[in-house]
Amino acid sequence: MSWFKKSKEPILAVEKKNVKMPEGLWTKCKNCEEIIYSKEIERNLNVCPKCDYHFRISAHERIELVIDSGTFVEMDAEMMPVDFLKFKDSKSYKERIKATVKKLGGGDAVKCGEGEIEGLPVALAVFDFSFMGGSMGSAVGEKITRVIERGLEKRAPVLIFSSSGGARMQESILSLMQMAKTCAALAKIRAEGIPFISVLTDPTTGGVTASFAMLGDLNIAEPRALIGFAGPRVIEQTIRQKLPEGFQRSEYLLEHGMVDMIVRRQEMKVKLAQILRVFTKN
């Protein structure tokens, strides 16, 4: 015989309703952590309406934003990365290329071509961080060099939007030599007085920062972009000191003279046109 008896029926859990939320409807801002309606972020040019955090955007979206509609003509679109060294880490480089190309549809981490900004011609290169972290291998370096040479040929200002983790490690020294190659091409346009405007977007690091990205006649940054050579964790471990708040962010670099100005995405096209007019005396 039991000592206690249940006088009532046990409380049963309410049946959970399976509410289906369409994926991607809401986005959590990486900076302020607000949950925002994705369409609102898109309408705001992929900038958080609450805290002004600039989300990363694709090369295609960037071109749409700054280049006059219908004026962009892509060059070297067929140029693809090649696994010269038969490199393999947890996966072979060849497989990585194949998977990325399948996902993103061809090309490499940079889109190059010619276009106009408020009617002013430019030779343009735009990095795509989603393609292997925007890393610079031999194809990327060659495309950048060619677009600089196109600027030289057409005497058009060169504009590069960087967003890159640096040199592509799978291509070893072949990617490192792209740093020298792109800088040598820039020296040629500098000698001819052709302007080079570098726009640093989140993140611009490693071999890209250490080569052409910091050589602009004007170096422009998007707000709060991470810009540096080695990452903060590596520096902290090396110098065994805590880094200051905001270290390697655009605002810190502007304060220390490493970038010339910070321009919000909404104002980028107008500001670029103004600068191009100044530099080309139009």
Partner: protein, 86 residues
């Protein structure tokens, strides 16, 4: 600070944009010849040569004209690649 250095042999200072682009110089933290003039007055030291660097190639002619107009014999625009030995 450089002005208070007792045995200063040479001074390097940038001047990037011509006077008409003062707004751009201010926004980007650079100097124009007119802004340089103000800095040189603060600097003093009439006997120290001053080397100008970071001249934007697109404005080289304008800058040379405007720097000459300052009529300051200490000023020299660097071409790049010069070697200074002390």
């Amino acid at each position: 600070m450089a002005g208070s250095c007792a045995d200063l042999k040479i001074a390097f200072i940038e001047t990037s944009f011509p006077n008409r682009l003062e707004w751009l110089a201010e926004v980007s933290g650079h100097l124009t010849p007119a802004m340089l003039k103000v800095e040189l007055e603060k600097f003093g030291k009439r006997d120290v040569p001053i080397k100008i660097f970071h001249v934007k190639p697109q404005f080289l002619e304008d800058l040379q004209t405007e720097l000459s107009a300052l009529n300051d014999k200490r000023l020299q625009v660097l071409d790049g690649g010069e070697i200074f030995e002390f």
